[in-house]
């Protein structure tokens, strides 16, 4: 390899590598550092990690604090639970959609795919706002139901768990459909025919053939929804009740309202520690390596 060529290779690799190192990896080191510091009434509001003679001043006090106050453990567990339920709902709604798209004629398929992608390209914040307009006590659903006389007073849908689930499902649905579609599209029609010829019914064929083949898509889709949903802020903040705890909301409050940066950092590190495992699975998922 010539010198110029090696130099070119190094540059092509080096520029994005250094960028990610500085603006993606280094920030986590800083967060880790701040999470070990003591809060302080200063600018910035935390004490240095090392003293004047470089003696180590850090401690795990912030992490201990997180485990002692039930607010944080509750928020943490609640986020994981709600993200898991929302992911399951997403899967149940997305699967028939992906299946129908994969099984339709090419022209229809393109149209339906575009319909899946379109909402994703609009603003998620404005979609949440639209959903609020639908679910509010003065919103569309309640107005129509009242007018029809089905209900005599509005149903409280906002500020409930239901609203948060609805928000997450609506926002992340396309991220579930696309990997599912990618696996189902490759499903060989002859396998289904063979299964039917051998006497399997529709349900039997689904459990024996379709579902196992689409497992990589299910895995990728679930992780793509679950991981960001755990740390979701906008949806629980705007749609959930004030006493409904989710870890993303708690982190935001610690930072913006309480100005407790070390505790906010400790929450971020705790969140990362939990998400590392699903992330590793996702990174090694065949669907993410273009092998589907």
């Amino acid at each position: 390899m010539s010198r110029a060529r090696r130099l070119g290779r190094t540059a092509v690799l080096g520029v994005p590598f250094v960028w990610l190192l500085v603006f993606f990896l280094l920030p986590f080191a800083v967060v880790l550092k701040v999470s070990l510091s003591e809060p302080d009434i200063a600018q910035p509001p935390y004490q240095p990690l090392f003293g004047e003679n470089w003696e180590y001043l850090g401690s795990f006090a912030n992490y201990v604090f997180l485990t002692e106050d039930t607010l944080y453990t509750t928020a943490y567990l609640n986020s994981i639970w709600m993200a898991a339920v929302a992911t399951l709902l997403c899967l149940l709604i997305a699967y028939p959609m992906a299946y129908l798209i994969a099984r339709s004629r090419p022209a229809t398929r393109l149209t339906l795919l575009m319909m899946v992608v379109l909402p994703f390209w609009t603003s998620s914040l404005l979609r949440i706002y639209a959903l609020i307009g639908l679910l509010n006590t003065t919103g569309f659903i309640n107005t129509v139901l009242l007018w029809l006389g089905v209900i005599s007073e509005p149903i409280q849908m906002m500020q409930t768990d239901f609203a948060v689930y609805a928000g997450i499902v609506m926002t992340y649905l396309p991220l579930m459909i696309l990997p599912l579609y990618a696996t189902l599209e490759k499903l060989d029609e002859t396998l289904l025919e063979a299964s039917a010829d051998l006497g399997a019914g529709g349900i039997g064929t689904f459990w024996q053939i379709t579902l196992p083949i689409s497992l990589p898509g299910i895995l990728a889709g679930c992780l793509l929804v679950f991981i960001p949903a755990v740390g979701e802020f906008v949806i629980p903040q705007l749609m959930g009740g004030p006493d409904q705890l989710m870890i993303g909301k708690v982190l935001w409050t610690e930072y913006f309202n309480n100005r407790d940066w070390p505790v906010a950092s400790a929450i971020a590190i705790a969140m990362l520690a939990f998400l590392v495992i699903p992330f590793m699975i996702l990174r090694n998922a065949p669907a993410m390596r273009g092998e589907v």
């Binding site: 520029v15 590598f17 299946y99 909402p119 639209a130 793509l224 991981i227 996702l282």
Partner: protein, 279 residues
């Protein structure tokens, strides 16, 4: 089988309703003359007028537009390099680290990204005096980083499908890098770059959480303004804003679909012509 298909269509229709009913209601209400959401006051374009004469909205939209163009462009250049490296350089040291760093931003919760970048910017300012304060520059850097990851995935996927024999032929004919990349690879992956840039632009234009952490005084983006309005309750001009965005995206997506269908038809026609010429 018939009944099964009917259920399938009904279930899929429910899914599409989840995606579209809120948007359709939003668009209808954007033409509501009444200020109250529950009251229909007749058709009107009043809120569009108020939106477009709102100085604050225009200012925020302008900032968001500038940020999104810059972040998407930087992200596309760096993301293309990353995607290229990951699909063409084979095994090299640090590959695992690069893959991890380029994939993690795809799913990283926004609050974590936002907080960590903010603490980095503050630390850097203390240590080396750059970036001085927070504003558009810090938002662009933050957005470009996640844009990079999305573009890298798209480019890597495109390059994996790529018929490498074309690149090899160019090399056999005496072509050298970077000319092979610029004249052979780039034209083939150009649609993926366009798609990547557009996706990056959209994600940047839409981001609320990361911007809230890393923005400074006077650099409120459009989502930040929308968020503060939504928190105060329903405001009808947001309906108009949402409808405008939906309209722009719908036109764009439709054009893209028509272009894809047209390209597909041309490809089939070309193939048939080639086949008939062979005979």
């Amino acid at each position: 089988m018939r009944a099964g298909r009917l259920w399938l269509i009904l279930a899929a229709a429910f899914g599409f309703a989840v995606l579209y009913v809120p948007l359709i209601i939003l668009i209808i209400y954007s033409f509501n003359a009444s200020k109250l959401v529950s009251v229909w006051g007749g058709w009107s374009v009043r809120w569009y007028g108020e939106l477009l004469s709102n100085e604050q909205v225009l200012q925020a939209a302008w900032i968001s537009l500038q940020v999104a163009v810059m972040a998407a462009t930087i992200g596309t250049v760096l993301g293309t390099m990353t995607g290229y490296v990951l699909s063409r350089f084979g095994r090299f040291r640090l590959r695992l680290l690069l893959t991890g760093m380029a994939t993690a931003p795809l799913v990283m919760p926004d609050v974590v990204t936002g907080l960590s970048l903010l603490l980095l910017f503050i630390g850097m300012e203390q240590a080396i005096g750059w970036p001085a304060g927070r504003g558009m520059l810090t938002i662009v850097i933050a957005h470009a980083t996640f844009c990079l990851a999305f573009v890298a995935v798209i480019v890597q996927a495109r390059l994996t499908d790529f018929d490498r024999s074309i690149e090899e032929a160019a090399a056999d004919l005496g072509g050298r890098q970077p000319w092979i990349f610029l004249t052979v690879t780039l034209p083939v992956i150009a649609p993926a770059l366009v798609a990547g840039w557009l996706l990056a632009f959209t994600l940047s234009f839409d981001d609320l959480v990361i911007s809230s952490f890393v923005s400074g005084p006077g650099s409120s983006t459009l989502p930040m303004l929308v968020y503060s309005k939504v928190r105060l309750g329903v405001s009808p001009d947001i309906n108009a804003l949402g409808s405008l965005i939906v309209a722009v995206v719908a036109i764009g997506v439709t054009l893209a679909a028509l272009q894809m269908r047209w390209a597909e038809r041309r490809r089939i026609a070309d193939e048939q012509r080639a086949l008939s010429e062979e005979e």
